[in-house]
Symmetry: C2
Subunit: 685 residues, 2 copies
């Protein structure tokens, strides 16, 4: 074998020798030879800029296609103008998507363990959040994320926190938008399923979560379906946001008991209706299905009535009722019982036609728009009329639980025939509403009342419609749920993609479609399709990208749970291993391209406590930490200190390694967990 | 409350009443009002086709940007030309990405439970695969997917199966490309970590997996690191593919014992080198780190030698050796011991400079291209020369384990100085190699030997280079690992994105970059960036989309595990519930918009067995099945029968529901699992 590697350069045709790159240099590996350039151009050849027509012809692009390409494309290195936070549905996660490019920038692990982020695979950050986030006695490892809600200040998104509910298990989670990591999961007491009842109040006073299906009350008790009306109850939960951490302060939260209807979509009052919340409902019939027991399918039983009830709740007044002590504590939360809520004027019902689904409040706060799945109209209520009707006691009766029902005629401002299957509505700043039409697969644009229409169009009139592909559920406008929507883009969240993408098996992607709103003034224009094959998103909120102030690295030794310096933060050169009885505790570091310590010797059955600090402060210099066959995997961001605590129950020589491609010698960034067998030690002669 | 909902149409300005859409119609809900259109255009307004310049100006696009937009954009409803299968790194999954649009079409759950697909959340498909896929006594719930390998026929991708290895735990998985679902996870015996050693042989005879770090042999024994050279061993596993199912037939598989080096990237011989496999290695120094014990960091200790060894293995000859019975069975697999492999001429070593990483075989099979991380050249070996050297016994000695080492001079065809940190090489059909340069953040294009260069360029010469952003690991060309690459696109798999995207917290997306290869004849051109924020992909393979023949629905009553009709398939009207002692067994169906049965009554502690058939045969008509607070979630594709088996250990009224937005009355598609408390029954007076 050759002794001098350099001499072998004589072989081949390129003989000039740059020289071997020194190992020592690479051991530190800090950005050697890193080319940081601008723009996405570059490359070896002259751009085809002068010959766009030829490219379009070669690729079969029509003039319209070409326009759409130019409207969507974000050149390499340029940033997207908006960031969309999409619920991930049954994936249990949240997706962060750039707009208009519609590129997925990140998946945020929320309710489901996720090893890329090291969430729920041995590091205390994820393990502790997931453990605390299960109801007592349960061990939930997924969720069904439905309705993301960004924190707000003065009714505008402020870019601090994101909340999301778990439709499957009645939980909610809080994500810190400094590091885009989940910081809290809360099993909301007395609620076991929640659908669309999530919103944040305009100054982030509360996150609201309501129940989807009622459950026997108090939570945890049992009652047969035959006692549905008597024993089952829903709840409207007002979860207090800690203004410093964004986490939920259960002590200062409260619930309002609700009838056993299916409370559905909800929205916060704003501007004129500030201090109120609105919750749609269906199944005021209180049907319970039972096809196999001679009953009617729920979808028929729950659709018998022509009207269900929009619940209008005065949360500011409810705060005072709680302050006055008129509550019971049930499963750790203050609960205003339904009779108290009625007596104190906290809750009113408004008839809403026909199998209602979406309820959305206009930016000025006056218009409450309801879509009824089986009604071709949207029904538009005026909050001013609601206030008057309450003041005048303009009731048409009470529901079976004694709640006053406002007279429909007294509170409706208008109805617009939009098409088949209207679900959800968003708004622009020009006085338009945009409603998704599930059955018609379209988005309808209509005008609100004349006091807010800025375009000279006739009020309460359908003014535009655009087909979508296909079966649209929610839709969202840039900054859409705020008091000041941006009128730039609308995203149609279509549930079926059918013929839009090459087949990838019987489970198909859903289809997000990007629509140009032309500043709210022209007809809508469809720009592009985006497949969603990573979950079944239900809803999104879209924020101006420059409102987000994400951290690029952590300050040295940060604990991601507290965002403070960890008591276990370890500096380079301060690494150590301590053994105390059957416990081995390690204070370690990670830096390109090694862990220290890189050999950890324990005995089978020992408790192993690891503290590992990523000693990097360079953006992107993440190190992973995985132990082979021990189901341990963490992502250690620059500056982060993570902690692990496990029993070394399997004997053997287990390689641990960095799971992020961190440096040229990344593959060498590994070490050994040596677990000496208990039996061998005992059996030694 | 109004009795006649229709009369309320008098309110508002749009008074024409389409009429209420009948509930009965919606109960079946089959594609009512579904608009199936072509193209992505449509919309309310005239396209901006005539005014491309104005759009470009408004969006700040340079002429070069505009060209790139047109080169990447795939209009709505048009299909991507190529499909890329990307490993998902520590996510444990595989990503399916369309090209050139770079849109994620699907995530395929492989090693990590994933609830959107209902993989590992109570349905037998995922639960059984994950359970069988853990080594004995372990319960692994993640993997580190590294190197996808598509099945091949005649050296070309055939679109049938996809294989992927688990770097963390020495496992591999098989995905069926009829339904894009994982069908097998295998814990490869005697291997506990594997990195780049995965490839499929040209006629899908074998999947090859080799060890990354050696482990004490036989697997499961214990040896201290002080016995590394003596007791630790690697392995090259040749896993036999069942030609009908694509699954691994362990009985007809074999392994070859390897020295305790770190075997690394690998590739199959093809055409001229068919029947052989090639595995790079590093750490032939057999360093074991131990910084905290006074040792040298592994990245230094493993980089001392100027050469490590490329392992050349004759698998066709090895088959004969196995047939002749010259093996030992170890942990359920036939193992050719190292001495036998040497004696039988199955293995030779070839010196490869300096901390080698990639090894890639050219389409004709003759050129073996090695990138050394610490060497600015690629070294190009000729397989013809390798054969001659073996025939001539042109050895320069033996390694410490007695393996013959071929003389470097005798086997090298050329070296090309490409730049800093060369890792991996891909090929086009014009006689070029394309090598990723990690340290330089670039892709270098060079010529191979004159017998394959079709462009008139000088052989073994650097001909083009393009910067990438940043720290490129692998790269891949369309149909790149076949005997006939398409010279259309190259994807740079960059590990750091740095300034390319808006910050989304300290864990940043990686950056895939799409490069136009100009049919292999012009300079490379950078087209677009794609963020990857869902895992840390390592490698991809890219197949022509029309080679995939995915199923759009399952035949009625299909079991996804067997792809055959399930014995539990249930037709509409044949639903039933049986109780046998403490077991309740349910044969149920799902169809828009209900489950049948929709009320299931059990007692706490009962075993519950559910068989649910999705009775749909319409594309996209997936139903989910989740039980609140029971951690059960499945995705039932049209035609699929899934099975669940659990103990109802928690009492209460648990809502179950469809988790896919399937129809207008999807929210009503739910039922109740009533678990009567054992205590209540016992305690009743």
């Amino acid at each position: 074998m050759p002794e001098d590697w350099g001499t072998y350069r004589a072989v081949g045709t390129n003989k000039r020798l740059l020289g071997v790159i020194g190992v020592a240099t690479l051991v530190l590996g800090v950005a050697i030879g890193l080319v940081i350039g601008g723009g996405g151009g570059g490359g070896g050849g002259g751009g085809a800029g002068g010959d766009l027509g030829a490219i379009a012809q070669a690729r079969g692009l029509t003039p319209e296609d070409q326009a759409h390409a130019l409207e969507q494309f974000v050149p390499g290195g340029k940033y997207d103008e908006y960031i969309m936070f999409a619920s991930g549905g049954q994936s249990g996660q949240v997706f962060v998507i750039g707009m208009p490019s519609m590129r997925i920038l990140k998946m945020i692990a929320v309710f489901t363990p996720e090893p890329w982020q090291g969430y729920g695979y041995g590091a205390d950050w994820g393990d502790s959040i997931l453990a605390k986030g299960s109801p007592p006695g349960e061990d939930l490892t997924w969720g069904d994320t439905h309705h993301p809600a960004l924190s707000e200040t003065g009714g505008d998104y402020d870019g601090r926190w994101l909340y999301i509910n778990d439709r499957a298990n009645g939980r909610m989670a809080m994500i810190d938008l400094r590091d885009f990591r989940t910081k809290q999961i809360l099993a909301v007491p007395n609620i076991s399923t929640s659908h669309g009842g999530m919103f944040v109040t305009p100054n982030s006073e509360y996150v609201h979560v309501s129940s989807k299906f009622p459950e026997p009350w108090p939570a945890g008790s049992y009652a047969d379906l035959s006692q549905y009306q008597e024993k089952y109850r829903g709840a409207s939960a007002w979860l207090k946001i800690d203004p410093n951490t964004g986490q939920i302060d259960l002590q200062n939260s409260f619930e309002i008991e609700l009838p056993p209807y299916s409370q559905d979509l909800a929205d916060a009052g704003k501007n004129g209706s500030y201090g109120w919340g609105f919750i749609g409902s269906f199944n005021t019939e209180m049907a319970t299905g039972g096809i196999n027991e001679g009953g009617q399918p729920l979808e028929a039983g729950a659709s018998r009535n022509n009207f269900d009830y929009l619940h209008a709740i005065n949360w500011q007044k409810a705060e005072q009722v709680v302050k006055a002590g008129k509550y019971e504590v049930m499963n750790g939360i203050k609960v205003i019982r339904l009779q108290t809520a009625i007596d104190e004027g906290l809750i009113y019902l408004i008839p809403e036609p026909k199998s209602p689904h979406g309820i959305d409040v206009s930016p000025d706060g006056d218009y409450l728009v309801v879509g009824g799945k089986l009604d071709p109209h949207v029904t538009i209520y005026s909050f001013k009329k609601v206030q008057q009707a309450i003041a005048n006691k303009d009731f048409e009766g009470k529901d079976p639980f004694g709640i006053n029902i406002l007279k429909f005629d007294s509170v409706v401002a208008g109805q617009v025939e939009v098409g088949a299957g209207p679900l959800h509505t968003q708004f622009d700043s020009q006085g338009h509403g945009y409603t998704s039409l599930f059955l018609e697969s379209a988005v309808a644009k209509f005008t609100l009342g004349e006091d807010v229409v800025k375009t000279g169009e006739k009020p309460f009139t359908l003014v535009d419609k655009i087909p979508v592909h296909y079966n649209i559920g929610h839709l969202a406008i840039t900054e859409g749920d705020t008091v000041s929507p941006d009128d730039k883009y609308l995203v149609a969240l279509n549930k079926w993609s059918i013929d839009r993408y090459a087949p990838v098996g019987p489970l198909h992607p859903q289809n997000f479609q990007l629509i140009d709103l032309k500043n709210g003034k022209g007809p809508m224009e469809m720009i592009a399709d985006m497949p969603i094959g990573v979950g079944e998103p239900h809803y999104v909120q879209i924020i101006k990208a420059d409102k987000l102030k994400a951290w690029e690295v952590y300050p040295a030794g940060t604990d991601a749970l507290t965002m403070q310096k960890s008591q276990y933060a370890t500096e380079l050169g301060q690494e150590r291993v301590e053994r105390r009885g059957n416990t081995v505790e390690v204070w370690g570091t990670a830096i390109r391209s090694h862990f220290n310590p890189d050999v950890i010797r324990v005995k089978q059955g020992d408790r192993v406590i690891l503290h590992i600090t990523n000693a990097e402060q360079t953006r992107d210099a993440t190190h992973g930490f995985a132990i082979s066959n021990y189901n341990v995997q963490a992502s250690l961001e620059p500056g982060e200190t993570a902690n692990f605590d496990f029993v070394a129950d399997k004997a053997g020589a287990f390689n641990f390694y960095c799971t992020e491609f961190c440096s040229a010698l990344h593959l060498e960034m590994s070490g050994w967990l040596l677990v000496e067998p208990a039996a061998a030690a005992a059996a030694a002669p």
